[in-house]
């Protein structure tokens, strides 16, 4: 049963067609990779799934439910979490505060004014646990702005994880990371496999091919190729383009 | 329907005047991607400067003053129209120099800075001229009224609208037909490119800002007899300027002019029904436009949306 399903999604901004036709379905528990050249529309597709952009045509379904036209926060509350290609952390907050604000337990109390947050040990513990799972257990009290780049990337993912999502959408999580940082991320995501449904946009082929169950290639606003990593390696088109350039 | 005619005409006149007011604001937003909140107070300063030149105590050296005061009103008015805005332009230089530190950073700095500059200028106006209302004297030739179609029309408004139209046309010509204008357009489009072409970007910015200031001050003198002169008159200039840009889109010259006419007509017509509250309709219009449609009628994606 597909958790995320996109059918005939077409997105047009004024006179420019960004997504021609996207048909994609991701079953529950799958780690689905999305790759393609820059400008192909991959991030726009994420924007469509998370409700930031409303498609001109087409349907989006989450666990069978039609989420077309729902606002971003409504979709997030249905269990969709996302990380961003250009990092958007709460820079003034500490790592712990960044994560805490994503926790469902905290979100439920969003309009509470009577008690102070600082006194709540339970939330702090939960946040710290999530941070530990991404390797930031030592840096819970560091201000996000002051963390090194690799840690900030990990924090992005921690925040998304803290939402306890059903679907995790990662937009170029290894962007800007060196070999070590990327490897760390691969380990982290590898550990999440099977526990959640994950959709990853990536340029790093090694990353995708080693982790993904299936991959969709998006080019010119359409899915031009789809399959398991092995199938794609055989794919003529992928071979000919620079996309599959490694074993 | 004919009862509405004077209001329609009034609206058109007001529209042209709004276009004049918005002109300088637009150029600055276009080239420098800065919302100049000081635009309103520079507009006001222009009016006060004009007042000072035409009045009994012009800011001239003593020997010139006696000669100046002997000139007929028409001459003094015409000369003031030219000299006063230039003096205000000097103030514009000061503002632009302060703004330099904010370039390259987010537009917010420019906004807060020009906001501060606006308050400083307004306070300066209060200190020098006090808070009472003033009236700007205009030459007999353009004041008074005339009859047409059994209605009384204000001569000054037509003169003002005509001047506004002429200046708008001249500015358009400058932008389209001169090399300076071409550089401004290029700079608005891509400042890096302009710099790569060897053009001194900071001198360009300064000159455009000063030009925008001069236009604002000029508009102030033209509008003064219609709106009266008070220290706070600047607000009624900067809000329509912003409204015009939002409606007409940043970067579209004639879009802004069309938007100005629309705004003027809206206010003119609302004056037909509730004249005391007609300026209010400008604010209501801004609320409505920003609520429902922020892109503008003609413009491309604007700096306001970053």
């Amino acid at each position: 049963m597909a958790l995320i399903e996109a059918e005939g999604v077409h997105v047009r901004f004024r006179d420019r067609v960004v997504l021609e036709q996207i048909d994609l379905s991701v079953p529950e528990g799958e780690l689905h990779g999305i790759m393609g050249p820059n400008g192909a529309g991959k991030t726009t597709f994420f924007n469509v799934i998370t409700g930031r952009v409303k498609p001109t045509r087409g349907r989006i379904r989450l666990d069978g439910e039609d989420i077309f036209g729902l606002s971003t926060h409504a979709i997030a509350n249905k269990g969709v979490a996302r990380s961003f290609q250009i990092m958007t952390l709460f820079d003034d907050f500490t790592a712990r505060e960044n994560v805490m604000v994503a926790l469902p337990a905290f979100r439920a109390r969003g309009f509470e004014v009577r008690r102070a947050v600082a006194g709540d040990a339970g939330l702090a513990e939960e946040a710290d646990a999530v941070l530990a799972s991404v390797g930031l257990g030592e840096k819970v009290a560091a201000t996000a702005r002051q963390l090194p780049y690799g840690d900030r990337r990990a924090l992005e993912i921690a925040v998304a994880l803290a939402q306890r999502p059903r679907v995790l959408c990662l937009d170029e999580p290894t962007s800007g990371l060196g070999g070590d940082g990327a490897k760390r991320l691969v380990e982290l995501i590898g550990r999440l496999r099977g526990k959640l449904t994950i959709v990853v946009i990536e340029h790093d082929m090694e990353f995708l091919f080693s982790l993904a169950d299936r991959i969709s290639v998006i080019h010119w606003g359409q899915v031009v190729a789809r399959g398991t990593p092995r199938e794609l390696q055989q794919n003529e088109w992928v071979k000919r383009s620079n996309l599959g350039r490694f074993a | 329907m004919l009862d509405l005619l004077p209001h329609l005409v009034n609206g058109l006149v007001l529209g042209l005047l709004f276009a004049l007011i918005a002109l300088g604001f637009m150029l600055i937003v276009g080239l420098m991607e800065q919302i100049n909140l000081a635009h309103g107070s520079l507009f006001a300063l222009g009016a006060y400067m004009g007042l000072q030149f035409i009045g009994p105590n012009p800011p001239l050296p003593a020997d010139l003053t006696t000669y100046w005061l002997q000139l007929p009103l028409g001459w003094r008015y015409a000369l003031a129209l030219v000299i006063a805005p230039c003096l205000v332009g000097v103030v514009g230089i000061a503002v632009e120099v302060c703004m330099r530190r904010t370039y390259g950073k987010d537009p917010l700095y420019g906004l807060l800075l020009t906001f501060g500059a606006a308050m400083v200028i307004e306070e300066g106006i209060r200190l020098i001229w006090g808070t009472r209302d003033y009236v700007l004297e205009v030459p007999r030739a353009v004041s008074g009224a005339f009859f047409f179609q059994d209605l009384i029309w204000s001569t000054y408004r037509f003169y003002a609208a005509g001047t506004a139209a002429a200046v708008i046309g001249l500015v358009w010509l400058m932008i389209e037909k001169t090399s300076y204008g071409a550089i401004i357009k290029a700079g608005a489009h891509d400042s890096e490119m302009v710099r790569a072409l060897g053009i001194n970007l900071s001198r360009l910015r300064l000159s455009v800002f000063v030009f925008g200031t001069i236009l604002a001050a000029f508009a102030g003198i033209i509008l003064a007899p219609i709106w009266g002169i008070r220290p706070h008159m600047g607000v009624d200039a900067v809000v329509p300027a912003f409204l015009v840009i939002v409606l007409g889109g940043v970067g579209s010259f004639w879009g802004a002019v069309a938007a100005s006419i629309l705004v003027g007509l809206a206010i003119g017509l609302s004056a037909a029904y509730a004249s005391e509250w007609s300026l209010l309709s400008m604010y209501l219009l801004l609320v409505a436009v920003v609520t429902f449609r922020a892109r503008g009628l003609f413009g491309k994606k604007s700096v306001l949306e970053a």
């Binding site: 102070a116 947050v117 | 987010d106 700095y109 920003v290 949306e305």
Partner: protein, 343 residues
């Protein structure tokens, strides 16, 4: 960021040591203010404007929303107090409540229109609405007295049933306003450090991120604006009571601009107490420097420009960073940047 760091014990407290010291110090003011060459009414003014500025900073400093027309709600409160007193009931509590509610309603109305925006559009919308309210105040002569304002507003006694205080003297009024100030400070401090305040701070830093986390950003922005407006209205009511009058002046953009300047100069962008500091500096400048020269406001405006250019963390930020190793300039700068980002 106006919340104290969450690792600081103050963040969890209802009443902090700083507050106690401040209140104690303020409580002694009427005893020595005459000797300092000033006068008790100045104390009243400082407190009232402090409530106003703290309430305003909820919107600017905590939520990161640029409201340039906040004077409107202060003014609505002032007029509502007077009108209630003349037409409804002379009772102090009723009039204060009426003022707060009137300002709340005004705030909700405006919030409905502006909360889906931020940045420059938001700023201009607040200006437009302020002008709308101001125009109504000036033109609706029958209701508001127009330019002449509402005059002869009385200071009703503070009647607690068993005991009643006459507020007609400035010292008595000072202590009454101090009591309101204490309540306001406690409430605002708790609000800023509550989950709600935390979400507001998140929204200030990244609306996009906050909405992707599942927060209905619009609702938060609208509610904080309404709350702020209500509290500003209360301050306005106190002002009307103190001045015995309500004029359209308080709603004009210049006055709204003053509170923006006070908050920034005082350091409201990085510290909870910034607005209070800014108010004190402003009013002291007015009285002390204003005694020598008429151009004191000009100097304050220039100070504001300098602060924006060079030290956006303001006085509070400067003082705080002299105690800590790193400068708060980065925080001040990023606070400014976030307020005007249109994303």
């Amino acid at each position: 960021m106006t919340a104290a760091s969450s690792t600081s014990p103050d963040a969890a407290r209802l009443v902090t040591p700083t507050m106690l010291v401040l209140w104690l110090a303020l409580a002694t003011v009427p005893l020595w203010i005459a000797q300092a060459g000033l006068y008790p009414y100045l104390g009243v003014e400082i407190l009232i404007w402090s409530i106003y500025a703290l309430a305003f900073n909820l919107v600017l400093g905590t939520a990161g929303l640029p409201s340039f027309g906040h004077g409107a709600y202060f003014g609505v409160g002032a007029y509502a107090f007077g009108l209630c007193q003349f037409n409804l009931s002379p009772n102090l509590w009723v009039s204060l409540a009426a003022a707060t509610i009137a300002a709340l309603v005004a705030g909700i109305l405006v919030a409905l229109f502006i909360s889906h925006r931020r940045g420059i559009y938001y700023a201009f919308m607040t200006i437009a609405f302020a002008q709308i309210f101001w125009t109504i105040a000036i033109k609706a002569y029958d209701l508001t007295g127009g330019e002449d304002g509402l005059l002869r507003i009385e200071r009703p006694p503070a009647d607690f049933g068993i005991i009643s205080f006459d507020l007609r003297g400035n010292v008595a009024l000072f202590y009454f306003v101090l009591a309101v100030f204490v309540l306001a400070v406690v409430g605002l401090w708790r609000l800023v450090h509550s989950p709600y305040g935390r979400v507001l701070a998140a929204i200030r830093q990244s609306e996009m991120r906050a909405s992707h986390l599942g927060y209905p950003v619009w609702l938060y922005k609208a509610s904080v604006f309404a709350i702020s407006a209500a509290l500003c209205g209360l301050a306005g009511a106190l002002f009307a009571m103190a001045q015995h009058s309500a004029f359209p002046d308080v709603m004009n953009l210049t006055q709204s601009g003053y509170v923006v300047m006070m908050v920034l100069v005082g350091g409201g962008l990085v510290n909870f107490w910034g607005p209070v500091i800014g108010v004190a500096v402003f009013l002291l400048t007015r009285d002390v420097i204003g005694a020598f020269t008429n151009s004191w406001m000009l100097w304050f405006g220039l100070l504001f420009v300098l602060v924006v250019l060079f030290r956006p963390e303001g006085i509070a930020g400067l003082v705080k960073s002299s105690f800590e190793r790193h400068s708060l300039r980065g925080q001040g700068l990023s606070a400014l940047r976030l307020i005007f980002r249109s994303g």
